[in-house]
């Protein structure tokens, strides 16, 4: 039987982990992920999660431990964010090319300095090129469900890649809603048998060289390195189809459906659209509804999967409109724009007709993006239809 609870996003994530039956969990607490680490520890203490819990001295060890466990055949989980992720970076970088299907919650947090322990997507956006799959959640239930789906995606033989399930620090770490915990037997049937190390293993029965030294000028070295790179690229592209399939299976089995890659909201007759990612999307949809009532033909495009980048799904969506306003919760310092905005521009090159796109940045360091600033996004994007396009990024929050 499924069970209804009222919980925050961090507890929902922990329930998603519990239902996925990991063999080994290693966590180091960091705000706003800490209560997720605490729920996991409590669940292990209470026997709800029957896994080895490693208390290690820092995030570098967290992921190193899980790499070993995964190579030994374990299903693994961790969670981190912000500076913790920064400290984890060395093994983090090695996880995708090793093709280890580790699942990790990224409870997104803004990057210091200046000091800040609050939400923002700077951490996740900073690591988007490393080769982890990234999916961003909109609400508490989606956090729980996406954790479970993440294992099925990561462990698919055509993928074999680590997944970051991103949920916004503060808003989705502590935001409370009703959520349904799926039945254990149903999840077991959904996930099936795990095999995390059929391809690369630390196993005395199957001795093999793991993580060989490659590269150097001439010879076979660089080519072998490129084989690893191309393999990772292929796994990433395969993931697009697998993510869609797994979301489809989830909807059939559990009755809750989410757009796997890109969600189109009120887009069919829209003249222009705003683009959102993560927990801001709910307020964005409410703002779209309000603008629709005032006669504006506006829709919303929500990014769920950002890595791999869902080019086809995004082009299907953007080809329906004539102007875009993209809202980011982090900054690309090289461009002085939002990183999601920059990616959307890359996708727009594939259209035959050029359309205007505006960059908005808001919600940094825990700031709220309410319906009102979305109203501004909609108004300015509507004006872009008539050629009024600002040269620079628009900073959304008051006093920004």
């Amino acid at each position: 039987m499924s069970k209804t609870i009222v919980c925050d996003g961090n507890e929902a994530a922990a329930w998603g982990v519990a239902r996925s039956r990991p063999d080994m969990v290693a966590v180091y607490p960091i705000t706003p992920q800490s209560s997720l680490a605490e729920y996991i520890s409590q669940f292990v203490a209470d026997g709800i999660i029957q896994a080895d819990l490693m208390d290690v001295e820092g995030e570098h060890s967290v992921l190193s431990v899980l790499q070993g466990a995964c190579l030994a055949g374990a299903r693994t989980f961790t969670a981190s964010c912000g500076q913790g992720l920064a400290f984890m970076f060395e093994p983090y970088f090695r996880t995708p090319p090793l093709r280890l299907p580790i699942v990790m919650s990224l409870v997104t947090r803004d990057g210091i300095t200046p000091q800040c322990v609050w939400g923002g997507q700077q951490d996740a956006m900073t690591v988007k090129e490393v080769g982890w799959i990234q999916m961003y959640c909109e609400n508490v239930q989606e956090v729980m469900d996406t954790i479970i789906m993440a294992y099925k995606i990561a462990e698919n033989r055509d993928v074999m890649l680590p997944v970051n399930v991103c949920h916004d620090g503060n808003y989705l770490s502590y935001g409370v809603e009703k959520a349904e915990i799926p039945d254990q037997e149903d999840v077991d049937a959904f996930l099936g048998e795990k095999n995390t190390n059929w391809h690369v293993a630390l196993d005395p029965e199957r001795p093999m060289g793991v993580d060989p030294l490659t590269g150097g000028a001439g010879g076979a070295g660089p080519s072998m390195f490129v084989r690893y790179r191309k393999g990772l690229c292929k796994g990433m592209q395969n993931a697009l189809g697998v993510i869609s399939e797994v979301h489809g299976e989830w909807a059939l089995k559990f009755g809750r459906s989410y757009a796997p890659l890109v969600e189109e909201y009120r887009l069919d007759d829209a003249e222009y659209a705003i683009v959102t990612i993560g927990s801001m999307s709910g307020a964005g949809k409410d703002a779209v509804d309000a603008a629709r009532e005032a006669g504006e033909k506006v829709g919303l495009i929500k990014i769920k999967t950002f890595r791999p980048f869902p080019l086809r799904a995004l082009l299907d969506a953007v080809s329906k409109v004539k102007a875009l306003g993209v809202v980011d919760r982090s900054v690309s310092f090289g461009w002085n724009r939002g990183p999601v905005y920059q990616e959307i521009l890359s996708a727009l090159y594939h259209l035959t007709e050029r359309i205007p796109a505006l960059s908005f940045i808001g919600g940094l360091a825990g700031a709220d993006i309410t319906i009102a600033p979305f109203g501004r996004v909609i108004e300015m994007t509507g004006k872009a239809l008539k050629g009024n396009v600002p040269d620079e990024t628009v900073w959304l929050n008051e006093n920004d």
Binding site: T4, I5, V6, D8, W118, G119, N139, N170, Y171, L172, Y174, G175, V176, E177, K178, S279, S281, G282, A283, K285, D286, G366, D368, I369, T370, I371
Partner: protein, 190 residues
């Protein structure tokens, strides 16, 4: 949609109060989103928590700036924080205090107040000044939005230590009985 803002001081349990009320409202079939304000977590510092509920699904996951109802867990807080900031016309104010509306300034936009000597009850029943369960019961009594029974269900889901659940339920029962509800003229209506 109905929007509630909790004010308290760190340690009084405002954030937990919003969670317990969320559980009670879900028990009664409502859709809920609750979220704490984000600040430095220090004992005694002013904190706030937000809760919105509706008969239909709520999508926006944001703070609340224009509440229909203010629940203040601390008698000294209105003197230091503008707890009424952005409050809607025709709102309800539930306040921890020994005083009467004549002794406190009730803003014009408030049409109903519920006052409860939360500190008195807390010290008697719990032995420490934690007022969240008490003020939830005061909220229930003043607004009628949620039943004491559903609140008790919400409290039962909290991992209290020792006999704290029974004590909190007793404190809530006392508060439900002893909360004084007034209309705009300061006339006690129950």
């Amino acid at each position: 949609m109905y929007e509630i803002r909790f004010h308290g001081r760190g340690g009084q349990g405002a954030v937990l109060a919003s969670k317990v009320l969320a559980k009670a409202l879900v028990e009664e079939g409502k859709f809920v989103k609750a979220i704490p304000s984000f600040g430095f977590e220090r004992r005694g510092a002013p904190v706030a928590a937000f809760l919105r509920y509706d008969e239909k699904e709520i999508r926006q996951l944001t703070n609340i700036y224009h509440p229909d109802c203010i629940v203040c867990l601390d008698p000294t807080l209105p003197a230091t924080v503008d707890i009424f900031a952005g409050m809607k016309e025709g709102g309800i104010w539930v306040q921890a205090t020994k005083k009467t509306p004549k002794e406190l300034k009730v803003p014009e936009k408030v049409i109903k107040v519920g006052f409860c000597d939360a500190f008195g009850i807390a010290l008697e029943v719990l032995g420490r000044p934690i007022t969240n369960s008490i003020m939830l019961a005061a909220f229930a009594r003043t607004t009628g939005i949620v039943s004491l029974e559903s609140l008790n269900h919400g409290l039962a889901s909290v991992a209290f230590r020792d006999a704290a659940l029974e004590e909190n339920m007793e404190a809530a029962r006392r508060a439900y009985q002893e909360t004084r509800v007034y209309d705009t003229g300061g006339k006690e209506i129950r």
